[in-house]
Symmetry: C2
Subunit: 126 residues, 2 copies
DNA sequence: CTTATTGCAAAACGTTTGCAGGTTT
DNA sequence: AAACCTGCAAACGTTTTGCAATAAG
């Protein structure tokens, strides 16, 4: 992987944004610092960085992919009220054990929990 | 929900196809029996049937949605070799318990395991 | 000098939607 | 007759890609 100013900026943005941004959001944030940056370049670099294991892709059913600076395996909550995504503290080791018991070739898994985020709970008085 | 010949056919096809077909595949299978059927109608009916809980939608990160005749909560394996999807026998109750421990408002979860299906294992001599 | 990377625009992909006409109740 | 459903085609949001130009090693 060759160095590029754009790639460095995109990686920096993903590491700085802790809200699981979409490609579009990263594009907007990085674009302020580097006018003329193209959306295609953002997508290409997110793919390269994710393939290299330097960032993580978070797939939400039916929604745009999001990107995560946290590298270790962890699960996400999709808030069915506001549509936001946040990290959720689960016993991922225990889940991986259950997964491995079902498929010993399992390399990875993707777990999305449909629930209500803290903010929306407060608003709803939960 | 009003009766329609197309909807009945689409439901019948999902129930008959045990390979987690995509909308496109259902369209092709049903189209043979009902020429002139449109893809839009297939999508509309899959949505109606899934919302009514008569079939299940299976979301695979980065891939087209698939549909499942099995109604109870269960997890899926995406084969990273052939791209196929099959059911995987996991202790889903135990997983739900772990999920609930992390988020007591959790209504549901989506778990996709990335591994190798039986067929591809045999071919690779695993 | 070679090859990865860029910006741009067009296209691909899966899916939804507006509309006018047809079907079900 | 009212409401729902259909086929068709256009549009949608997201992501990828072909191209000629630029930048990195």
């Amino acid at each position: 992987m060759r160095y590029s100013r754009q790639r460095e900026l995109i990686l920096k943005k993903v590491n700085a944004m802790h809200n699981h941004p979409t490609a579009e959001e990263i594009y907007e944030a990085a674009g302020k610092e580097s006018p003329g940056l193209s959306l295609g370049t953002v997508y290409r670099n997110l793919n390269v960085l994710a393939d290299a294991g330097m960032i993580r892709r978070v797939s939400i059913p039916g929604k745009a992919d999001r990107f995560d600076h946290t590298l270790q395996q962890h699960s996400h909550r999709y808030c069915t009220v506001c549509g936001g995504v946040d990290d959720i503290a689960l016993n991922d080791a225990a889940i991986m054990e259950i997964v491995k018991r079902g498929d010993d070739t399992a390399q990875d898994y993707s777990l999305v929990v449909f629930g209500t985020c803290e903010q929306c709970r407060k608003k709803a008085g939960m």
